[in-house]
Amino acid sequence: MDMVQVKINGRDYSVPKDSTILEAARAAGIHIPTLCYLKGINEIGACRMCLVEVKGARGMVTSCVYPVNEGMEITTNSQRVLDARKMNLQLILSAHDKKCLSCIRSTNCELQKLSFEYGVEASYFTGRTEDHQKEISGTSIVRDNNKCILCRRCIGACANQSVGVINALNRGFDTYVGSEFHKELKDTSCINCGQCIVACPVGALSEKDETEPVFEALNTPGKHVVISMAPSVRATIGESFGYEPGTDCEGQLVAAGKRLGFHAVYDLNFAADLTIMEEATELVHRLQNGGTLPLITSCSPGWIKFCEHYFPEMTENLSTCKSPQQMFGAIYKTYYAKKLGYKPEDVVMVSCIPCTAKKFEVQRADQNAAGMPDVDYAITTRELARMIQRAGIDFRALPNEAYDNPIGLGSGAGVIFGATGGVMEAAIRTAAELVADVPFEKLDYTAIRGLEGIKFGEYKLGDINLKVAVTSGTKNAKKLLRAVQNGEVDVQFIEVMGCPGGCINGGGQPLQPAVVRNNVDLRAKRAAVLYRADAHLDVRTSHANSSVKALYDDFLGKPGSHLAHQILHTSYVKRGL
C-alpha cells in the first residue's frame, strides 16, 4: 500500500495514500466527530461537524471527504476547530425541537452525545423553527421532521437501495426530507425496509412502535399471547444491552420473552424449515413442469414490495410461499392453537423480527389462513429491547433458557436464514439429500456465503444441474434482475434479501452510531453468530426437523399439498410505480 507522511496535531504519522483525513486520524487514534458521513452511503460533507484545520487551506475543511496528501499538516482539536464545531451544533440545535425527554433516541442519539461532549448551550441561538406534521400513518416508518438535522443519511440509504423515494425538498431553511409532490412515504413506492431508520443519527425516523398494544395484550386475561423469535434476533439483541456486536444471546432472549409474560416463546426457525420444505417442492415442481423460472425467494417483505413496484412483470417468478413469519402465524392459528386447546381468535401472535417491512407484511391481503390475520404484531428487535427495559428485566443477568415446544425446534438450516445466502443454502441442503441423495455436508457452500452483493453457485443434484444466484440489498437485486431480463444471467433459483447483507442488517435491528457502522463490519460479525449456531446444531437440514415432519404427517400431508397451499402460500400485487 502506498503511504504518505502527514502531521496530525503536531505528531508524524504514515497513512495510506488514498485515505481521507478522517480515516487517517482514526488510524492514528484520533476521533473526529461526524453527523452526515456514512461510508459508501453518504459522503457529502454537509453537516460540517468534521471540520479540521489544514495548513495552507482556505477556511476549514471537511475531513470526511478531504484526501490526505504528502506532508499535510492537520489540526483536529485547535480552539478554532472546537469553537466551530460547538457553534455548528448550536446552530443545528436552534432548528431542532430539543424534546429529548420524550425522544425515542434519547441516550442513543448522535446529536445529543455530541452536544454533551462539546458543552453546547442549547438555546444560544433562537429564532424561527419549522413545525412539521409528524408522519405516522404508514405501517412501518414514522417520520418526525422536527427532529431532522438534514444530514441526509436516510436519503443516501434509500438511494443505496435503488428505491430513492426521499430527497431534500424546498431549499434554504425551508429544506426538509420528503417525497415527490410532498407525498407521505406510504403513498410512494417505499418498500418499508427501514434502512433509513438505521441510518438516522437522531429521532427523525423510527419504526412504528407497537410495544404498547403488545403490553396491553399481555395484560388482557383470556388472551393466549405467544412470540416467535426470528433467526437473526439472537445475534443482535445483545447490542441493545451493551454486548459487543456478534454476541449470541439466544438463551437470554428466550428467558426475556418468558419473563415478559409471553405464554410461549417459539423459534421462528421452525417456520424457516417449513418454508424450505414448501419452497424446495415448488422449485422442483417448476423445474419439472416448465413453470416460471427463475424462482425467486419470498421471505423478505421489503424485497416483495420492491418487486411489485419495480419489477411487476416478474411477480410470477416469486415463490408463492409465505414468509416464515407468516407461515408461523398461519400454522399456529389453524393447527397448533387448537391442538393446545386455544381458540384461534384468542391467540395473539407476536413475532420479533429484524425488519420494519414485516409490519407491512402482517397487514397484507391473503395473509389470513384462519380467517384472521396470521400475525397480529410484528415488533422489531429494537421494540423488544425496549419492552425488556420497560419491564425492568435485567437482560445481562438472565439465564439461558430454551424455546418452547412442540414447535420450538429449528434446524441449522433455519438459523442461517438470517444472513444473505442462508435461504439458498438451506434449500440446497434439503435438495441435496432429498433429490440427489447426497449428504449435505458434501457440498461446498462458500460461493453463496459471504457479504458479496451478488453471488452465483452451481450445484449438481442428481439429474438436475441447479444454477443459483444470491443477492441482498434491493440495489443489487435490481442489477441482478435486469441481467436476468437481458439474458446475461441464466439461473433457475434466486435468493433475494431486501437489506444489504440480509436480515442481520435489517431495518429493525439495534441502532449503531455512524462511528461503529463506518469502522466495524457489523454484518460479518452478526452473520458469524448464525453460522456458529448452525455448526453446533445436531439437526442442520430442514427436512430432518422432527417438528416439521410431524406437522406434515399429522396435518398438512405432503409439502405442496392442497392444504399446505391454502395455509402456507399467498399471492402478489402488480403495483408498478
Binding site: A46, L51, G59, P67, N88, L91, S94, L150, R171, G172
Partner: protein, 602 residues
C-alpha cells in the same frame, strides 16, 4: 449602396425601455421615406448607458441619441436621414457643446472605459455571424487550430494573466492546465452564464450582444484541454440571451465552426445550452455541474476539483462568460497586449454593472486598477440629487461595502479582498447618505437566506440566524451581545460553509460592522437609525410652526393617524395638525404630500 447605419441598442435595458418599438417604427419610417436602400437599421447589443435608453447611434456621423421614444423616430428620419440635420433636442447632452457634436468616446461615461470584453457590444448585430466574422471573429479559433499546439494556447492564456471573471479570480490558464493534465477519454468545457447577483447584467449583455465571442472561446478552450463537447448553462430568465445563443450556435454549425473537423483539422467540438431554473447557488461551479447532470442543484465538496472530476465525473473546465469574452482577443493580440492593461496582479479589464444611487446606471468596462472614485464620480456621473456618497457594494450579496474613506482604492481582485469585499461577478451598487447600512446588510442577507440551497448547516441555519439578529437590531430590540454574536456567527459561517455562497454570505455584515459600526451602535444603544430608514426607530412629526392646517396630509394618511389640534399658532388661520404615533405606520405619504415642508422624520 448603404450610406447610413442606424444602430439601435437591443440590450436588456433598452429593450425594457422600448427599443424594439423604436426599431420597428424606424424601419417603417425609412421605408415610407424611400430610404430603404440607403439606410440600414441594426439592432446591436448593449452600449452600457442603460439609464438613458433606448440609445441610437447614426453612422457615419456617429451622432449619439439617447432616450429615444417611438414618437421621435419620424423626426429623426425626416430631419437627420433625409435632410442631414441633427435633431439637437435628442442628442446626448454631453456630446453636444457650442453647436459641435463630439465623439461618444470623449464623454465622461466612455472616455475612461476600455472595451475589450464588450468590444462588439453596441457595434455589431449579434444575430449575424458575418458581422462577427467581419470583426475578426473566429480568426483566433482558426489561428489556434492551424498554427498552435494546445499547450501553446494554455501558455498564452497563462502569460496574459487572465483571471476568472466570475468572482473567484482563479488564474484561467492554470485551470486549463489542470484539465489538460487530467487523463480521460472524455472532457468537457462549460460556460457559467448563471448570472445571479441582484442588479448584475454583465454576462447577459455579453451573451445578448456578442454570443459568438463566447462560442469561439469555448472552442479554443476545448482545443486546449482536449475536450469535444461543451455546455452553456444560462438562466432561463434571460430569454433574449438564450435565443441569440441558440441562433449563434446554429449559425456556427452551418459555417462549420462547430461540429466535426473544424477548419479542416481533426478538432471536433459541439455545444449545448442548458437552462438554469433560477437558483442562485447554481452559479457555484459544482452546483452548476450537478444541475446539468439533472440533479437538484447543490454544491459538492472540493477536492476533487472539476478540472479533475467534473461534469459526469469527467475533467471539466468551467469559466464565466466574461472570462471567455477575453480569450479570442488574447490569442489574436497577444498575451503582452492583455497584460499591459490593469494592475500588477489583475490584468485586463473588468465589466461592472453600475446601479443604486448613481447618475449613469449601466454597464461599464474599465481597466483593472481604476479607482472607485473614477468609476463613481467620472464614469458614473456621481450621486444624483446632490447627496453624499456613502459606500459602494461590490460583489453582490457575497461582497462587502466599501466606505467613502476608501473611495480611492484601485479596483482589482486583491485590493477588494483586502478591504473586506470582493470583485464578485461585477455588480457595483452605490449608496448615499439615505441608506442605512444595517438595513443594507439585512437586504443582502435576505437574499442569501432565500438562495441558500439548504445542504450545509452553517449556511442553511446560520444565515437565517444572522438575518434574525439584524432584524432585531433594525427594530430597536438589539443588544450589544447581539452585535458580538453577529460577528462571531459571521466568522463561523465564512470558515465553515460548504461552498462559496455560504463562505461569502456574511461579507455584507462583516464589512458594514467594520466600517459602519457606529451605525450599529446607534441602533442598539441609542435606538436610532441615523439614515432614517428603519421604521421602528423613527417617528414622523408635524412642525406646528410650519403647519398651516390645510389637512392635505390627513387626506392621504392610510391609517387616519393625523388629527386636528385645538390650537391656532400666531399668524396661521387654522389650528395645526398632529400625528397620533400609536396609529402611524411611518409610510411617509404625508411627508410627500405636504407643500409646506412641515412634516419630518426623526
Amino acid at each position: 449602396m448603404v450610406r447610413s447605419h442606424v444602430l439601435v441598442c437591443g440590450g436588456t435595458g433598452c429593450h425594457a425601455s422600448g427599443s424594439q418599438a423604436v426599431i420597428d417604427t424606424m424601419k417603417a419610417e425609412i421605408e415610407k421615406a424611400g430610404l430603404a436602400n440607403e439606410v440600414q437599421v441594426v439592432q446591436t447589443g448593449c452600449f452600457g448607458l442603460c439609464a438613458l435608453g433606448p440609445i441610437m447611434v447614426i453612422y457615419p456621423e456617429g451622432t449619439f441619441y439617447s432616450s429615444i421614444h417611438q414618437a421621435d423616430v419620424a423626426e429623426i428620419v425626416s430631419e437627420h436621414l433625409l435632410k442631414g440635420r441633427v435633431v439637437e433636442r435628442l442628442v446626448y447632452k454631453e456630446t453636444k457643446t457650442h453647436q459641435a457634436v463630439h465623439s461618444l468616446n470623449d464623454t465622461n461615461f466612455y472616455k475612461k472605459q476600455k472595451r475589450v470584453a464588450l468590444r462588439n457590444c453596441g457595434l455589431i448585430n449579434p444575430e449575424q455571424i458575418d458581422e462577427y466574422i467581419a470583426m475578426d471573429g473566429y480568426a483566433a479559433l482558426g489561428k489556434v487550430l492551424t498554427e498552435m499546439k494546445p499547450q501553446q494556447v494554455i501558455d498564452t492564456i497563462k502569460a496574459s494573466g487572465l483571471r476568472g471573471r466570475g468572482g473567484g479570480g482563479f488564474p484561467t490558464g492554470n485551470k486549463w492546465q489542470f484539465a489538460a493534465n487530467s487523463v480521460s477519454d472524455k472532457k468537457y468545457v462549460v460556460c457559467n452564464a448563471d448570472e445571479g447577483d441582484p442588479g448584475a447584467f454583465m454576462d447577459r449583455s455579453l451573451l445578448e450582444g456578442d454570443p459568438h465571442a463566447i462560442i469561439e472561446a469555448m472552442a479554443i478552450a476545448a482545443y486546449a484541454i482536449g475536450a469535444d463537447e461543451g455546455f452553456i448553462y444560462v438562466r432561463a430568465e434571460y430569454p433574449i440571451a438564450v435565443s441569440r445563443l441558440q441562433l449563434a450556435i446554429d449559425q456556427a454549425r452551418a459555417y462549420g465552426l462547430l461540429g466535426k473537423r473544424i477548419f479542416d483539422t481533426d478538432f471536433c467540438f459541439d455545444l449545448h445550452i442548458r437552462l438554469g431554473a433560477g437558483a442562485f447557488v447554481c452559479g457555484e461551479e459544482t452546483a452548476l455541474l450537478t444541475s446539468i447532470e439533472g440533479h437538484r442543484g447543490e454544491p459538492r465538496p472540493r477536492p476533487p476539483f472539476p478540472a479533475v472530476k467534473g461534469l459526469f465525473g469527467k475533467p471539466t473546465i468551467i469559466n464565466n462568460v466574461e472570462t471567455y469574452a477575453n480569450v479570442a482577443q488574447i490569442i489574436l493580440r497577444g498575451p503582452e497586449w492583455f497584460a499591459s492593461m490593469g494592475s500588477e496582479k489583475s490584468k485586463g479589464t473588468k465589466v461592472f454593472a453600475l446601479g443604486g444611487k448613481i447618475t449613469n446606471t449601466g454597464l461599464v468596462e474599465i481597466p483593472m486598477g481604476t479607482t472607485l472614485r473614477e468609476v463613481v464620480e467620472e464614469i458614473g456621473g456621481g450621486v444624483p440629487g446632490g447627496k453624499k456618497f456613502k459606500a459602494a457594494q461590490t460583489g453582490g450579496p457575497s461582497g462587502g461595502c466599501i466606505p467613502a474613506s476608501l473611495i480611492d482604492t484601485p479596483i482589482d481582485y486583491d485590493n477588494l479582498l483586502a478591504i473586506g469585499s470582493m470583485m464578485g461577478s461585477g455588480g457595483l451598487i452605490v449608496m448615499d447618505e439615505d441608506n442605512c447600512m444595517v438595513d443594507i446588510a439585512k437586504f443582502f442577507l435576505e437574499f442569501t437566506v432565500d438562495e441558500s440551497c439548504g445542504k450545509c448547516a452553517p449556511c442553511r441555519i446560520g444565515t437565517l440566524r444572522l438575518l434574525e439578529i439584524l432584524d432585531k437590531i433594525t427594530k430597536g430590540q438589539g443588544t450589544l451581545e447581539d452585535v458580538d454574536k453577529l460577528e462571531e456567527l459571521s466568522n463561523f459561517i465564512k470558515a465553515g460553509s460548504l461552498c462559496g455562497l455560504g463562505q461569502t454570505a456574511p461579507n455584507p455584515v462583516l464589512s458594514t460592522l467594520r466600517y459602519f459600526r457606529d451605525e450599529y451602535m446607534a441602533h442598539v444603544v441609542d435606538k436610532k437609525c441615523p439614515a432614517g430608514v428603519c421604521k421602528d426607530l423613527l417617528t414622523i412629526n408635524i412642525n406646528p410652526d410650519k403647519c398651516v392646517g390645510c389637512k392635505m396630509c390627513m387626506k392621504v394618511c392610510p391609517t387616519s393617524a393625523i388629527f386636528i389640534t385645538d390650537e391656532v399658532k400666531p399668524g396661521k388661520k387654522l389650528p395645526y395638525l398632529c400625528i397620533d404615533q400609536s396609529k402611524c405606520i411611518k409610510c411617509g405619504a404625508c411627508i410627500s404630500k405636504c407643500k409646506f415642508d412641515a412634516i419630518y422624520k426623526k
